[in-house]
């Protein structure tokens, strides 16, 4: 269980850090404004920009879904399988 927690936390913080950097580069007009990280992304000027702008959403969803997978889906699946096995053995 602790392993699953640290996997989820590692994904959340690691991917969140990468998302924060890229969104800070491309989707933040100013760090003194009230809208940060969520401005519309600009037109990509070159290949690196294209890759980075595409990776923003990839990192954001990886942070969210990865943490949810390890904290919710996998433990719930194990519980469900254990409950299913117990019920099958007892009957």
């Amino acid at each position: 269980m602790a392993d699953e927690f640290i996997k989820g936390l590692g994904i959340l913080t690691g991917a969140g850090l990468a998302w924060m950097v890229l969104a800070g580069w491309y989707q933040t007009e100013s760090f003194e404004s009230t809208s940060q990280f969520f401005d519309p992304a600009p037109e990509a000027a070159n290949l690196f920009d294209t890759i980075a702008i595409a990776l923003i959403d990839v990192f954001a969803w990886f942070a969210i879904l990865g943490a949810l997978t390890f904290w919710v889906l996998i433990p719930a699946g194990r519980q469900a399988r254990r409950a299913y096995n117990e019920r099958r053995e007892s009957s």
């Binding site: 924060m20 100013s30 003194e32």
Partner: protein, 260 residues
Amino acid sequence: MTDTNDKTPETDGGEEVRADGTGIVAPDDETPTWRERKERTTGLSRLTYEYFERARREDQDLRQESTYVERDVLGFPTWPHETIRNLSIASFFVGMILFLSATMPPHIGPPANPSSTPAIILPDWYLYWSFGLLKLTPINPELAILDGQKIMADRTYGVLANIVVVGAIAIVPFLNKGSARRPVEEPFWAAVGVGGVVFAFTISVLAVQNLVPIAVPLLFDLTFLLPVVAGFVTYAVLKTMREGYMYDLNRRYYRLRPPK
């Protein structure tokens, strides 16, 4: 155990559990309910003793099986144990600082204009609570005996509120020595603590009321209601956690203090 491939779980002693009353487990029809176990207190000291004795014995066995040379020391040596750990932690944070300062350098704005006063003046965030206490104007009572006048200016009232809050915090150690090792041991004082923490937060929010998208009267009410609600919830949760047989056992465990 005739079939070695199909291992069933065993108790610590490796003996088979006999449920007919001859072993340490009560026979099935005499197994006490949880309510009965909670009400039974006489056998608890014996149970506690057996629990500790088993734990001590397991510890002793582990030490004897271990290849680690036991030295007569009180802790781990600084080198390499503590040093390596501290180095890795320090490296992580230094690396984080370098990474963030390299990838997201802060925007340096124009220099402040000393001849113009900003519209909103706030102290540093950790003093918001005190700043919020200066905004208690709605509860400065207008006394009928004084023809609806206030007995003191609102600013005096705010300063006195600071004294009241600091005084209340200073009194708490005299009311409760804090011998509990975890909140569940003293739910009331844990609730008081949670209420205080929540109040520190809500009064800080009140201090920046013009930045909060809530009507000021509602925000003012929430400032004093939320701590009470949080305290009640904490008390209820902790009281509920005290229910149960294992809590009594654990309380005995944790009440064993090293002799002075």
